[in-house]
Symmetry: C2
């Protein structure tokens, strides 16, 4: 184990990540449920995501990314890379579904995954185990689980930007005071 990996593990409090992961469905409910379609279906331009797309993506990640990869890592270590992740995989799955239904789906599958994570009773020696990411190379279980939690924050950040964009004209000269209006997407 490299010093960098060890430092990353020392920097990671799994209990805190579980706490963050637990609260995201309620955060999204408060922020989004009941908003009119014109707010939740509009995106930032071609090949960008609406709020509805982002919730669909979070569901897709619960199904195919974080927990499946955590289990894969524990089963195969670095001997077999994780399967590829389809960044547009949510499109087919969430097509035609209204946002409240997606929020319900997200809450349900997140809760299931957290039950499973807790039941794994991970010890420090598990968290230091490595798997093989198809693009990033070796990653520890600790890094993968920390990324799961940070990924929620990444997409709350993105949603607030997508929603703020809809206020770009309405706020007039106040625009220059708002960092969110200057935020380039940084690829997500």
């Amino acid at each position: 184990m490299s010093i960098l990996e060890l430092a990353n593990i020392m920097n990671h409090d799994l209990g805190n990540s579980i706490a963050l992961l637990t609260r995201t469905p309620a955060t999204l409910n408060a922020l989004l449920r009941g908003l009119p379609d014109e707010r939740t279906l509009s995106n930032e331009g071609e090949h960008t995501w609406s709020v509805l797309d982002i919730v669909g993506h979070l569901i897709h990640c619960e199904r195919t990314d974080w927990m499946p990869r955590a289990k894969w890592l524990l089963d195969f270590g670095e001997s077999r890379p994780f399967g590829p992740f389809d960044r547009w995989g949510h499109v087919r799955e969430s097509q035609g579904k209204p946002l409240p239904k997606l929020l319900d789906e997200f809450a349900a599958i997140r809760a299931e995954n957290l039950v499973e994570l807790r039941a794994m009773n991970l010890r420090p020696e598990d968290l230091s185990r490595r798997g093989l990411h198809p693009a990033l190379g070796p990653v520890t279980l600790s890094e993968l689980l920390a990324a799961w939690a940070a990924h929620d924050l990444n997409h709350i950040h993105q949603m607030s930007r997508v929603m703020a964009r809809q206020y770009r004209e309405a706020v007039g000269p106040f625009r220059q005071y708002m960092g969110v209006m200057q935020c380039a997407a940084h690829g997500g």
Copy 2:
């Protein structure tokens, strides 16, 4: 009234802004209440804000910025500029208060302000009235109220970034996939 101001008013749905303003206290409760101090007191470096500072700032704005300025605008039009806003005014007010208390204060004062806003029964001709911002110059009531709603999103954006920063090391190589980790503060 300029064409630009008219376009900005046409772009603004006050009902939607009220809906956004109404849901922010619940969003912050879901996102923040119960997090340990080490998460809510850490900032992005010197002269930057923690999550607790941001909630304090939102309270300070409810007290001294948006609604007081809206009333000032209706009373004085462009004849007298709004008083200056103290960007660090929350520091004294929120000093030593725990986050749950600040979240309660924010929910209470936001609710009061929204009762008052609704009672003003603003008509399109009110929304097109102008006041004088001490730095930005003339602004319409519509722009001021739209900025109030967008300002919430601006600070949800900021909070998600401040919290994600705490995961910078723990996520290891996943960092490069997360736009929030690349987000410069854009001044807020």
